[in-house]
Amino acid sequence: MATRRFGSPDGWAAGGLAAGLLALLALASVSLFVGVADLTPGRLLDPATREAALVALLESRLPRTAALMLAGSCLAIAGVIMQMLTRNRFVEPTTAGTTEAAGLGMLVMLLFFPGSPVVVKSLVAAGFACAGTALFLRLLRAIPPGSPLLVPLTGIMFGGIIGSLTAYIAHHYGLIQSLGAWRNGDFSVVIAGRYELLWLTLALSVPAYLAADRFTIAGLGRDMSRNLGLDHGRTLIVGLVIVSLISALVVTTVGSIPFLGLVVPNLVSLAMGDNLRRSLPWMALCGAGLVLACDIAGRLIVAPYEIPAGTVFGVLGSLVFLYLLLGRPSRAA
């Protein structure tokens, strides 16, 4: 009963999803034709300019648009999984130290093994992210029950401590600039050959979707989920690994996008409740759409220069976060 409380038949839901997908595709095609290089559908069709236009499309615009959609959708998924597992609406990779730990791992690799391939760097960063998140979950056990706001607060400060340690090391070795690149999701660096690792996040979304029901049940709490026959510990570990891998992949390829995993799931679940199997596709869709929109805005505001999508979203996301905190006090505490 509860899962279908809006009473919408499946056909309706599928229709809505299809409409959302169309809107996303429209946004994506806008993203394909916005930028410095002169790329319009007309130039693609004109035989004289086709070749140059095709290069720009395949080497830069298509990879960029794909990276935007991949990062946006998988961060939203990572956010909602963390929210289910910690049973707290304000937890996501940047409010739990996950992103910062991944950044520290990246810095360590850059300092000690600068020549190692990107995959290895990403994996090490994922290991750091996993350790950081596990430590955060350990800290959570010490939080007195019934104080939901302490969880993100602890997470943000925990991330802050890791972040200032990372920044200090980077400052010491003159690497502040590379640090800035991880802190602000920047998609202008994405060209063919430099972002393909992000496709792995799509592969990670599949187990996330398959395990969606488990995460929903884990969200009911440890005792309740055990009662319902769920191996709570294993679900936690699976979720932790998925989230850490996603965060590390996004941080190492394009940089972090703060609050995306918080804003999207909260807004979506406001509209459609907490059944993850049903809402997960919507979250992926909205995450991709929001990041696309922010990136397009960032390309237009100071054209021909760019503002990173992560920076645009940082402002937008903290405003929505404040709204969630203050706008509806009954829900916040």
């Binding site: 304000f90 800290l139 010490a142 939080i143 007195p144 104080s147 706001l149 302490l150 993100p152 607060l153 602890t154 943000i156 400060m157 925990f158 802050g160 401590i161 972040g163 200032s164 340690l165 920044a167 200090y168 400052h171 010491h172 602000n184 703060p258 505001i301 100071v302 220069y305 503002i307 990173p308 920076t311 645009v312 940082g314 402002v315 996301g317 903290s318 405003l319 976060f321 404040l322 905190l325 203050l326 006090p329 916040a332 505490a333």
Partner: protein, 341 residues
């Protein structure tokens, strides 16, 4: 009061332990330590021209004293008004606000025009702008609709993140050359303090501290909580507004003088660390004692830290990172022990 049982373990018998319960003894010990550190700070490792070294280090030490005591005093008083030991001006987004305002100045005026403006005028404008912003924010937070402490904390932190995000956004739009100018201004530096600014800042902070000192009786009453204070005849709204103005002024001047203490993150935990060490060491809860103790501890940490880490151990500018690290851990421990409820 929790700090009554948390007295430091004395190495010898009852005599020392008992005397450590007397504020006068603790305060004089702290003052003595500050004196020793100050003398060492001025003299250790001086080579060559003594006259220059003493003048240079004297300015640096004065800047440290002014900034450390301003932050210590303002944090303790802020916590009295907030009614807890975990909120600080910095956690409520103050440092991030400063960085954002600096960025706005460079963004809207340009570094060239900024350099041609009289530094004293700029200092006054900076302080005034920060004061106006912080007053709007704090009055709204403290005197508006009553909210839980956890909401306040989180709102403050998210405001800090918002300020920082907006700052980064503006920094992306400005010219890269301007960005270099800006970055220098966003890290606390005690070396490059302009002598005339140091004079003004010292005057303002001493004056404000005197006024706050005269309010110490009312602060003791405010410590009892809002309702009790009103019952005891305090005009709560007016007193809190006045104190918030004074506290903001102090933090503004200190920050405008040297920059945010933690340039890496939107939050600095130095104030939190100093205030809580003061609650731990200084017996009783009278503001007369706690404020003096906090100021001394602040100076001790900042000047002593610089002395040990930079002069003796040769660790560049590591003081900030060490105090922030310890302060950050203290913050998390306080959160987990339920002090934010």
């Amino acid at each position: 009061m929790p700090h009554d049982r948390a007295l430091p373990a004395a190495p010898s018998g009852r005599g020392l332990k008992d005397s450590l319960r007397r504020p006068a003894v603790v305060l004089s010990l702290l003052a003595l330590a500050v004196l020793v550190v100050a003398v060492a700070f001025m003299t250790v490792g001086v080579k060559g021209n003594w006259e220059f070294a003493l003048a240079f280090r004297g300015r640096k030490l004065l800047a440290i004293c002014v900034v450390a005591s301003a932050i210590a005093i303002s944090t303790v008083i802020f916590q009295t008004i907030a009614g807890n030991r975990i909120l600080t001006p910095s956690i409520m987004g103050f440092d991030a606000l400063y960085a954002l305002l600096q960025t706005c100045f460079v963004f809207f005026l340009g570094s060239a025009r900024l350099a041609s403006v009289d530094t004293r005028l700029l200092f006054v404008v900076e302080t005034a702008a920060m004061l106006a912003f912080s007053l709007v924010l704090y009055r709204w937070l403290f005197l508006g609709a009553r909210r839980g402490l956890q909401v306040l904390l989180l709102v403050g932190v998210v405001f800090g993140l918002l300020f920082r995000g907006t700052m980064v956004l503006l920094q992306r739009i400005i010219d890269p050359n301007e960005f270099v100018v800006l970055q220098d201004r966003l890290f606390a530096s005690f070396n490059g303090v302009a002598p005339d600014l140091l004079g003004i800042a010292t005057l303002v902070i001493v004056a404000v501290s005197v006024v706050l000192w005269r309010l110490r009786g009312r602060l003791d009453v405010l410590l009892l909580g809002r309702d009790q204070a009103i019952n005891l005849g305090i005009d709560y709204r007016r007193t809190v507004s006045l104190i918030l103005i004074l506290v903001s002024l102090q933090v503004c001047v200190a920050t405008a003088l040297v920059g945010p203490l933690n340039g890496f993150e939107p939050v600095s935990f130095f104030g939190l660390l100093v205030a809580n060490v003061a609650y731990l060491l200084v017996p009783g809860f009278r503001h007369a004692h706690v404020l003096a103790g906090a100021a001394l501890i602040g100076i001790l940490l900042l000047a002593g830290g610089q002395l040990v880490l930079e002069q003796l151990l040769g660790f560049g500018s590591a003081v900030g990172i060490v105090t922030e690290f310890i302060g950050g851990i203290l913050f998390i421990v306080m959160l987990l022990r339920g002090m934010a409820r």
